[in-house]
């Protein structure tokens, strides 16, 4: 099913910089990835690697003083990085919607949830008050909220975490967007609810034919929901490919390290590996490969020159100039068998 259709979202060499008094932080430094129509892509990486900033840049929601200083964000062929604010506002909700990590803070505490869901249809689709209300109840039904007519009159604090996240999803769906960006949508939920919400998102994606981008540091979530993924490290995408290939045969030492640090329920490891050291300061990242200082396979040539994403076999790509080293390590000791 991987026909080379035009991608819905294509991020090309995205640069996000944050000027601070101690220097400019290169929060995102040349990130590239694509999301196909109806596709589900995961964006993984540890805290501070730039994944949330990338998401915000796509949405045009960068917190001041962060700004896009280069690259393109092509949504259905239109560059959002240079689009006017009014155009981006038009696209928000209708073209691209977003689900936040913490549904309690992302919902207005003094507004009934039904009214909050109705905001989008009311503002964007030109629905009247009554029709928007009906649409809200319909959406609440769609995301599996029992007794939606009465629940629509509830305030966020009267709902459970799972229900609140369902409300968030209903809000995201309200104007039938083509793309939904999920910023760690299940991190704040316990695992049972997490599972329910992920299944709901998968079902909705199939039924409504939209694309999803998942930003998370939870590899299990990616395994459950996505077809492709991009691994970010220190503001760069270091590896991309299908979930299956990347999880089984990582071609970048950072991905390898990530996978080795995850407990595998099938092939229980004696020791969980961790990646030594900590991510570099993005004001002055190391020259050469940014992972090199922490990399067990690093050689001299890793320390010089930028390391762009290099295409490998299939749809894969890795920023590592010695991708065989990771492959070799996997041959000696498989990384993950649970997926």
């Amino acid at each position: 099913m991987s026909e080379p259709a035009a991608p819905l979202l294509e991020v090309r060499d995205l640069q996000v910089r944050i000027p601070l008094s101690r220097g400019t932080v290169r929060a995102v430094d040349g990130a590239s990835f694509t999301v196909g129509v109806g596709g589900a892509m995961g964006l993984v990486g540890e805290s501070g690697c730039g994944k949330s900033m990338t998401l915000r840049a796509v949405m045009g929601l960068l917190p001041r003083p962060a700004e896009i200083t280069g690259g393109q964000v092509l949504f259905a062929g239109e560059d959002l990085a240079t689009a006017r604010a009014s155009r981006i506002r038009e696209l928000r909700g209708r073209g691209i919607a977003m689900i936040f990590q913490e549904p309690m803070t992302a919902l207005n505490p003094v507004m009934k949830v039904g009214a909050q869901i109705a905001e989008g249809p009311y503002a964007h689709l030109g629905y009247g008050r009554r029709k928007a209300r009906e649409r809200a109840i319909e959406l609440m039904q769609l995301v599996g909220i029992p007794d939606p007519v009465r629940r629509s009159q509830s305030y966020p604090h009267e709902l459970s975490g799972g229900m609140r996240q369902r409300v968030m999803i209903a809000i995201a769906l309200s104007c039938e967007p083509q793309l939904i960006l999920c910023d760690e949508p299940t991190t704040a939920l316990d695992v049972t609810i997490q599972d329910q919400i992920l299944k709901l998102l998968l079902r909705l994606r199939e039924e409504l034919g939209m694309s999803i981008v998942f930003v998370t540091h939870d590899l299990a979530v990616i395994a459950q929901t996505c077809q492709t993924l991009a691994v970010m490290y220190a503001g760069e995408v270091v590896e991309a490919g299908t979930v299956h290939e990347v999880f089984h045969q990582p071609r970048h030492p950072y991905t390898l390290g990530l996978l080795r640090s995850v407990p595998d329920p099938v092939d229980v490891r004696d020791v969980l590996d961790s990646i030594p050291g900590s991510p570099p300061d993005l004001v002055a990242p190391p020259p050469g490969c940014r992972f090199a200082p922490r990399c067990p396979f690093a050689e001299d040539d890793c320390l010089e020159g930028r390391k762009p994403l290099l295409p490998l076999e299939g749809d894969r790509a890795s920023a590592c100039i010695h991708p065989d080293r990771a492959a070799e390590s996997v041959r000696e000791q498989p990384v993950i068998t649970g997926v």
Partner: protein
């Protein structure tokens, strides 16, 4: 299954009672404030029903009389019924007091929202205007303005508005500054809503109560200003009764007919007490359990 499991939670929600409707009568200060203020406003509204004499009708044969069944609180130096004047003055003073707060409230809230939400140059400009007004003492500015504009109701509105908006701007600006960083505002932006809608529908409902509570104490302040202006002869003009004017008029007879000044003074105090209690109660109600 799912709906059965949800049942207890739902009934809890209804038990607790939602917001004001479920709790106001259990908040003592709110009830007390409501009673005091309700009585005062009720009397003022029902003025023609609870008085026997016109507040301006003079009876020079019966000046400065004491309490009697004819004149409950006696008469003043012009033989006017004190009770009538008190009630009718309440009509004027309460009306002007409330109205004089309305305009500063609206202007201040609007400017505060804009300054807080947009920040930058607009915020600096508004902050500058606020500082200019704040630099002058409240009463000096109000008295000076009433003097320039000439005494009367219209001057009171203008003077109090001119000085009063800054407090609302400061309160709302500070509240919006905090609230606009909340995620739900970002979520509203993500939904593609316009700034105006985000401010009016998503931000203001979260912060407006602070301004409303302040408005209640501000009514006391403006009432005090009106009474002060009346006392100085710059406020409501005779023969329209006004508590300030009554206090000033009774002053000359304070040793013999103390009630002439004390009763209107007491009315001012009572109104202030009622509003304070009410504001306190609203504040309590706002606090989540």
């Amino acid at each position: 299954m799912a709906s059965a499991a949800l049942e207890p939670a739902t009934s809890l929600v209804e038990d607790r009672g939602r917001g004001f409707a479920g709790r106001w009568y259990r908040t003592p200060s709110f009830v007390a404030g409501l009673l005091i203020l309700g009585t005062l406003i009720g009397l003022a509204l029902a003025a023609p029903l609870v008085t026997r004499y016109s507040p301006t009708a003079q009876d020079l044969h019966h000046t400065l009389s004491g309490s009697s069944s004819q004149h409950w609180l006696g008469t003043d130096q012009l033989g006017r019924d004190v009770w009538s004047r008190l009630v009718y003055a309440g009509r004027v003073d309460l009306k002007v007091g409330f109205l004089a707060v309305l305009l500063p409230f609206l202007i201040g809230t609007t400017l505060g929202s804009l300054a807080g939400y947009y920040g930058g140059k607009l915020d600096m400009l508004i902050a500058y205007l606020v500082n200019v007004v704040v630099a002058f003492p409240f009463y000096v500015l109000i008295i000076a303005m009433s003097f320039v504009l000439g005494p009367g109701e219209r001057s009171i509105y203008i003077a109090i508005t001119f000085v009063g908006w800054v407090s609302y701007t400061r309160i709302i600006r500070a509240e919006i500054l905090v609230a606009k960083r909340r995620e739900y505002v970002e979520a509203a932006k993500v939904a593609g809503l316009r700034d105006s809608r985000i401010i009016v529908r998503h931000l203001l409902p979260n912060v407006i109560m602070q301004a409303v509570i302040f408005a209640m104490s501000d009514i006391i302040l403006s009432l005090a200003a009106i009474v002060t202006l009346g006392y100085l002869g710059l406020g409501i003009q005779p023969p329209t009764p006004d508590w300030g004017d009554m206090i000033a008029g009774g002053q000359n007879f304070i040793t013999t007919k103390w009630q002439l000044s004390v009763f209107p003074g007491l009315c001012v105090v009572l109104t202030g007490l009622g509003l304070s209690l009410l504001a306190d109660g609203v504040n309590d109600l706002m606090r989540p359990e």
